[in-house]
Amino acid sequence: MAKTLGPVRRKFAPWNDPAAVPLIEFRNVVKRFGDFTAVDDVSLGIYEREFFALLGPSGCGKTTLMRMLAGFEHASEGRILLAGQDLGSRPPYERPVNMMFQSYALFPHMTVEKNIAFGLVMDKMPKADIEVRVAEMLKLTRLEKFAKRKPHQLSGGQRQRVALARSLAKRPKVLLLDEPLGALDKKLREETQFELMDLQQQLGMTFLIVTHDQEEAMTVADRIAVMDHGKLVQVAGPSEIYEQPSNRYVADFIGDINILEGRVASIEGTTIGIEASSPKVSLVVEDDEPTSVGATVWVAVRPEKVRISHDQPTDATSNAVAGTVWDIAYIGDVSVYHVKLDCGATIRATVANVSRTVERPIGWEDRVWLTWARSSGVVLTS
């Protein structure tokens, strides 16, 4: 497959263009089931050709949001627009979107071919055209050899590809993917993630994926919406979500992070001085987060940005705290040091295992210094 898509991908950012009109628009959408509010006042625009991910723990409303777009649920309040048209209460069979189900939902009594052709037959496409399209889909998903098989005669990975082919066959404006790779093992899942990305670029379609796997969302998506309790917490690109989380929930949900509570002591431009309460140290962070002197804030630092050393740092511009190595988790590619500070709090630091030496220079119960640059931390106000 063509690998020249990198530059296209990098330049693709219609959400930064004020003139761009989103293909899908959720406007103040609310969905209630009895007393339970599954989706709480969500407004969101998804652009044409975008690969968009809805990310969150189970029960956060991400699947409900997607099912409303597919037409299986109807919004209690608000509107959903597709290409400028209000979808209103149009039933699923009249919407130009297709969905790939978590369980794949392959029709067990039909062959792979018939499964893929189902949507086309429903559209009353001429027989000859159906054959051409099915053949094309089989080729795209490398299923030519399995056309005559029934779903129960396929492996998990093959079934996943049939489900994908079936949902793509009608060339929908938007493809919805509900935890599409959840049932695959780790290796196959990673491969398939890249296949999905290539496929999306190749077909120039808009993909909306629902997942609880943050790595998956970060790998495939142009933008990610992190959801919690029915609300959108942050909508941004993968690197922004990781490096500039908007609050503690996002910071904690995406990857591993150390969070220290403190009070703003000084603000000079983008240099914020913070008196942390536990441990009692002064921290300096380069961040343009708007805050005020005296406000309670949290400083968040990713473990891979924390350096660990026996020696007290001489560089006064970095942040430094002292502690004792409490635990070391050897994961293979990295080791995670759990360092207990004198006040009792624990900070994690990861060190890449660049050499093959088994002996590590820093061991259990060593006194160590943890340092991180001013620009490594993030100030969170909520």
């Binding site: 299986f72 369980s103 939902a105 029709f107 005669q153």
Partner: protein
């Protein structure tokens, strides 16, 4: 584990003896050459010949067959619809009452069902005969079909129907193209159950019958009251034979499908991917 203990063997023999000894005696005596049902007079097939010359018996058998086919078919349609309503439409006012009312005939004594139907037919002045028995059989077999089909629908993956609708299929089409083909085995076994119950029924048929509509069980029962003839033994043996062939045939068929399916699945996983 000990395979043969005297206790196990004895209980097996007693159990099977209890169940099948009467039937075995009936089958053996159907080949009796003598007129008496209790005295053995040597082997003969003459009672079978008699059966096929007894027009009344043959008529009764034909009525029973038609009745079974017709009532089982209608009961299957109605029972399947009831099962779908009960398993699909989550909560609606009166759901409990409705499901209770569908299942009530399962536990209702047949005498009561029969009597109440008779009173109904008399009240509306419906001429009793083949059609009243058919209606009665539909009524009491429908709930069995509903139970069988509903148990299949409980494990039915609803996303299959959603997928069909997502691909542009309307609800009615979804039922015919997706739901029905998948639950077909349950519907078929519901039909077979209804058919068996219908051809077997004596009490409800007796209450709701009229002139010219005598079913085989009714015929046998009335003949036996005048004294057991070896001819009856022959009829019963034939009925047993037909049922045995049907049941064994059906189970072989489903077993073969299962084996084929397993083989295909193994092949798929061996091929990998």
């Amino acid at each position: 584990m000990k395979r043969f203990s005297w206790f196990n063997v004895t209980s097996l023999a007693l159990g099977f003896g209890f169940l099948y000894l009467p039937i075995v005696i009936l089958v053996i005596y159907s080949f009796n050459a003598g007129r008496s049902v209790a005295v053995w007079g040597g082997w003969s097939l003459k009672w079978y010949v008699e059966v096929f010359q007894n027009q009344q018996l043959l008529d009764a058998a034909w009525v029973t067959l038609r009745l079974g086919m017709l009532s089982a078919t209608v009961a299957t349609v109605l029972g399947t619809l009831a099962a779908i309503v009960l398993s699909r439409f989550g909560r609606f006012p009166g759901r409990m009452l409705f499901s209770g009312m569908v299942y009530a005939p399962l536990v209702m004594p047949e005498v009561i069902t029969g009597l109440s139907l008779l009173l109904l037919f008399v009240a509306v002045d419906f001429e009793r005969g083949f059609w009243t028995i058919t209606l009665a059989h539909i009524t009491f077999t429908m709930c069995f079909v509903a139970v069988v089909v509903q148990s299949r629908l409980v494990g039915f993956d609803k996303s299959l129907e959603e997928a069909a609708m997502d691909l542009g299929c309307r609800p009615a089409g979804t039922f015919l193209r997706i739901t029905l083909p998948i639950i077909w085995p349950a519907v078929l076994s519901g039909w077979m159950l209804a058919f068996t119950l219908s051809i077997d029924d004596l009490v409800i048929s007796s209450f709701t019958t009229g002139p010219g509509a005598t079913t085989l069980p009714m015929k046998i029962y009335s003949d036996v009251r005048l004294g057991v003839k070896p001819e009856i033994n022959a009829v019963c043996t034939l009925v047993i034979a037909v049922i045995t062939v049907a049941v064994v045939g059906a189970s072989i068929l489903s077993k073969r499908q299962e084996i084929e399916r397993e083989r295909a699945e193994r092949a798929a996983f061996a091929a990998g991917g």
